[in-house]
Amino acid sequence: MTHRPYTPWLFLLPGLAVSLLFVIFPFLNMIVLSFTDASALGGGQFTGVDNFVRMAQDPKFWVAARNSLLYMVGVVPPLVLLPLLIAMLAQKVVPGIGIFRTAFFTPVIASAVVVGLIWTWLLDSRGLVNNVVEALGGTRIGFLTDSTLLLISSMVVTVWRGLGYYMVIYLAALANVPKDLHEAAMVDGAGPIRRFWSVTVPALRPTMVLVAALSAVNGFRVFSEIYLLSGGSGGPGGASTTMVLLIQSVGRGLTGEVGYASALSFVLFVILLGLLLVTLKLNRREEQL
């Protein structure tokens, strides 16, 4: 016997306690609460599917769900493609490349709050970007005051912040692409664009699926960027709100409608789980090919 029977449980106790108390239990409780009318002050009666019926009739829910979905659809293509191009550029070892890679990664380590504040200032009605727009002969644009532009601006911030992160993932994958494939294609007279589509993209397809999945899940979960760019309001009249913004505004504070917020959380969870399953399925199909 190398250890007493209870020893492993002593090792596991802190970690298991945290996971069970602060992840698994709240998760199960969230599902239970979503079928009640619980408030922030406690209590709550079982109300069946009332919360979900209410949700179906709640215009705010549809706005939030649509925006989260749009957000996801909007950020995935640039986050799959742009970091790949940057990685290809940063892959070749030329003098000073380390400095460039480091600089490209910097936005990743800054918090969403810092990034949000920096871009709020850049996109201000009198900010740097609008100054440039005006200098080029355009008129000032309400990046943060129009609900659609606010969503787009926020997507740009999300993409900007993700470039370096996915670049690193792509750099690792690019290092594994066999060199002779490129050389063979070059001998066959394929130009750089042709080689990109017929050598690099097929070789990196699994990584691209991974990046698409990660950025889709994170896009649907967006909170900080929209919160900061809109000053916490979710845009003019809440028109740029997203699922997570809605959940925290419904469920927070003394007037929080815990039951309804839980139902919204449940829907969020189901959608994210669905995204995950789709990804797994795509990955499996990749392996079969």
Partner: protein, 268 residues
């Protein structure tokens, strides 16, 4: 010619990546008489007065201390707690190991946003809302770190430990003297990302904290922006205070950051 093209492209992306930070820094050192709206990256009369002034408006150094406390505790609990659990999963044989592994694996699948409100109720049940302990606890031993360390321990050769067992070393001794020093690399990654995650976290502190003196930097800054939009110099100084420690940490330990991304230590 081709090289020149490559460098111009690299420089363009460099400008896009760090330009916004430079602009924020430039704003933070502009004096009260200088127009902050003029696109001028180099102030006429640079001053660090805004860094002192921001503390007159909000207790920014208290926020920073709170963030540092939360992040440091988070590093210790994650390194120790996740290593202990990971060691048990990888190196000790016992009934129920599968159950423990399933608990950690399913914890990873639960998106934090989905349990936000429910977690707040748990914290209130413990009487820990509006405390820094309440901020730390939910992320104090991340299941992802448990699995990262489990994998690291699994990769160690078994012979060394078998010799130690024969020498009569108990499980805790084998863990602290043999196993833990052998996974230093993974521990550094876990420590770094625990620090960064905690320092950068916004949603949870926003929900769980209510008194200003308990604020961490992230929510303190969001609050500062809401209150004093008029003076961008102060907001800019605040953001630089919040981002500088991480930039320094990153410059010192960048290869571990890159490694962490590769091992999946952070999600997006």
């Amino acid at each position: 010619m081709k090289l020149a093209l490559r460098y111009s492209a690299l420089l363009a992306i460099l400008a896009i990546s760090i330009g916004p930070f430079l602009w924020q820094f430039a704003t933070s050192i502009k004096g009260p008489n200088e127009d902050v709206f003029v696109p001028d990256f180099i102030p006429d009369d640079p001053t660090f007065a805004n860094y002192a002034a921001v503390a007159d408006v909000v207790p920014v150094w208290t926020f920073a201390l709170n963030s540092l406390t939360v992040a440091s505790v988070n590093v210790i609990t994650n390194c120790l707690g996740a290593a202990m659990a990971g060691y048990a999963l990888a190196r000790l044989k016992f009934r129920g190991r599968r159950f423990a592994a399933v608990v950690f694996a399913s914890s990873i699948l639960v998106p934090f946003e989905a349990i936000l409100i429910s977690l707040f109720l748990v914290m209130r049940g413990f009487g820990l809302t509006n405390t820094l302990t309440g901020v730390v606890l939910p992320g104090s031993i991340a299941a992802l770190n448990v699995l990262l360390l489990r994998n690291a321990f699994l990769a160690l050769p078994a012979e060394v430990e078998e010799a130690a067992i024969i020498d009569g070393a108990n499980a805790w001794q084998r863990f602290t003297r043999l196993a833990l020093p052998s996974v230093k690399g993974t521990l550094v990654v876990v420590a770094l990302f625990s620090f960064m995650f905690s320092w950068d976290d916004f949603l949870w502190p926003l929900v769980v904290l209510s008194d200003q003196e308990k604020y961490t930097l992230t929510i303190g800054l969001a609050y500062l922006q809401g209150t004093f939009v008029q003076n961008q110099r102060l907001v800019a100084a605040g953001t630089i205070i919040a981002v500088l420690p991480l930039i320094l940490l990153f410059l010192l330990l960048q290869k571990h950051f890159f490694r962490g991304v590769g091992e999946g230590a952070i999600k997006g």
